[in-house]
Symmetry: C2
Subunit: 371 residues, 2 copies
């Protein structure tokens, strides 16, 4: 591998890259006969999730700050306008060309075979990337048929890919919102919905309204962006989304980090303060929070009492048995333990159950010892 060329492309000193490889902050893997670097941590300003195939760079998607209090977060906003895009509930994917073929890279920097196969069915993405190979499409993969986040979107069906950013793959430089929209429209690639553009002064109130409406419809939230993409974007999610995250996490209470749980609990307090809740409204919000925590935990304990192994099921369709086996190998390497149930002769339609061993084992131990 030409580390000197890669360092130059990434704009970091070569010794930093070598050091990071030695410390395993950058992992060296293989993909289709090429050596691949995967950044497991930020290194000298290059984002976690960055991946280099031979000498083809796909920069990591940058972390987006979360607004806990919209009004306060927008006070330090400098741009006059705030563009509000919908944040969809799926998984973050970067689509780019590698060896002239589309690949789907996960947030962590791994090529997901299932996502890659689905993206390759989308001719529009491929054409856009073939004409602009220096770009990558950063988007949310959503729908009912994927092995990560199942959420029903009428507009997506089993699998949809909605682009939120178009960026230069070597530098992570984003297109401005109008440039992005023009390009996506030209090629017929779906972007995430643009829900409005507001003057900074009125944005907090309008965004709160929008977020509440989205929450009521079971949709995740919003990302606030500067029209020119100079200002740092901000994400914001309504209470319903936090509670839904908590319901999921507390179903597997020993599999999630304490910080994951805690941060979602604390968000509810800031929402209640910003919305000036009191009396019955506040008490109802508290009750809803409590139910999102206790009920899934109680249900999981009862499942384990009945002998079940906890886990989530995903129904997926593969184009070939080979593709299924490749996906299973990918999940195994990610440390995910799955049970496979074939739903159809020939093995192309399967149910994957991701097993939550940590929670199952810990709950079993408490049921046995009582302590």
């Amino acid at each position: 591998m030409n580390l000197s060329l890669i360092s130059e492309k990434l704009g970091i000193p070569e010794w930093r890259l070598r050091g990071a490889i030695k410390r395993h902050s950058v992992q060296v893997l293989g993909y289709r006969g090429r050596e691949v670097l995967v950044f497991r941590k930020d290194v000298a300003g290059v984002e976690r999730g960055t991946v280099v195939f031979g000498d083809e760079v796909v920069r990591g998607y940058p972390k987006i700050k979360r607004a806990l209090l919209l009004s306060a977060a927008l006070r330090s906003w400098k741009a006059e306008q705030v563009a509000v895009e919908e944040k969809l509930n799926g998984y973050n994917v970067r689509a780019a060309l590698v060896d002239s073929r589309v690949v789907g890279v996960t947030r962590g920097g791994y090529v997901c075979p299932y996502t890659t196969s689905k993206l390759r069915e989308a001719r529009e993405c491929r054409r856009l990337l073939e004409d602009n190979p220096e770009l990558m499409l950063c988007g949310e993969a959503v729908g009912t048929s994927n092995p990560y986040v199942v959420h029903e979107y009428p507009e997506a069906g089993e699998f949809g890919f909605f682009v939120f950013d178009v960026r230069h793959r070597d530098t992570n430089e984003p297109l401005s919102i109008p440039e992005k929209r023009r390009l996506l429209e030209e090629y017929g690639v779906q972007g995430v919905p643009l829900l409005g553009v507001f003057r900074r002064e009125e944005a907090a109130d309008r965004v709160l309204e929008i977020a509440q409406r989205l929450g009521a419809e079971g949709r995740e939230g919003v990302v606030l962006k500067d029209w020119e993409m100079v200002e740092e974007p901000l994400k914001y999610t309504p209470s319903q989304t936090n509670l839904s995250d908590l319901r999921h996490a507390f179903a597997y209470p020993y599999d999630y980090g304490r910080d994951f749980l805690f941060s979602r609990i604390i968000r509810e307090a800031y929402i209640a303060v910003e919305r000036e809740m009191k009396g019955e409204e506040l008490s109802d919000a508290a009750a809803a929070l409590g139910r999102s925590i206790l009920l899934p935990m109680v249900e999981s304990i009862r499942r384990v009492m009945k002998g079940e192994v906890l886990g989530e099921s995903y129904e997926l369709e593969f184009r070939s048995e080979e593709e299924l086996l490749e996906m299973l190998e990918f999940l195994r390497r990610q440390g995910v333990s799955v049970q496979v149930e074939v739903l159809e002769e020939g093995g192309r339609r399967v149910r994957l159950k991701k097993l939550r061993h940590a929670s199952t084992d810990r709950i079993r131990a408490v049921l046995r010892s009582g302590t």
Copy 2:
């Protein structure tokens, strides 16, 4: 200091003790002109909280296991009988003679000047210890006037000390329950209430009843003990106690460890399962949990918005200004930040406010930045 003599008394190799001192697992301090060792961690089977004054040992109070599910925890219980003592809501103190005078040692192994002064007013404790200097009294200091845990007990008033274990101070060997009760009665020293002795088979049901009654009365819980003190004891607290802990902790959400919060949340799930809650009862329990989490957080955020510094206030009476200053110095060394308000001419009655800087600062930062 004679480390060889101390090692022998503690029954550990001298090199282990020297190593622990080097690694700061054992701290070397001074107390009234003597060198003192404080065990900040378990070392070779000697408990955290053990303290050695010159060559006078006071062993640390052993960690008591918590029953999450009573029925399961008692299944592995071997003794035929289960004695149920009340667990009072205060702070754990060991009273022992040092230089022929009573001292009150905190759980962590520090001599608390305030507690020591209060214990010295109790003639009964002193007489018991003077006649049995090889013993220590392990008890709960409770009441409305202390700088740690304020809880109203009609039987305790401002300050009460209730013994739950009598142990040999060098070896930590406990007296059996009948020996302990005989000794406490002989000297007129108060023990914690003995709430019943049950056959193992019926104990889980009876303890659940007792715990629910205690919870309804705002009392903390129980400790299950073997009459002979051979079996490992078990503590159990009702839902009300967990919720009250959570209310307190979520008032200072960034001052408490995530594990502290998480463990108390998860206890509620096991209680709901053991009590076979469903439908409305389960939903009400969840709502109560949610209120214990959300309402104190919201209140604290609002206090910080108004410019307050978060903290808890304690009203204390000292016998002299010197004693007050000694206590302030003690708290300062423990890393506790306090504000003092003198309530009475002469400065003997004061209000101490323990400041919760971590939560105040973090909430302030969110209010300012919104993120």
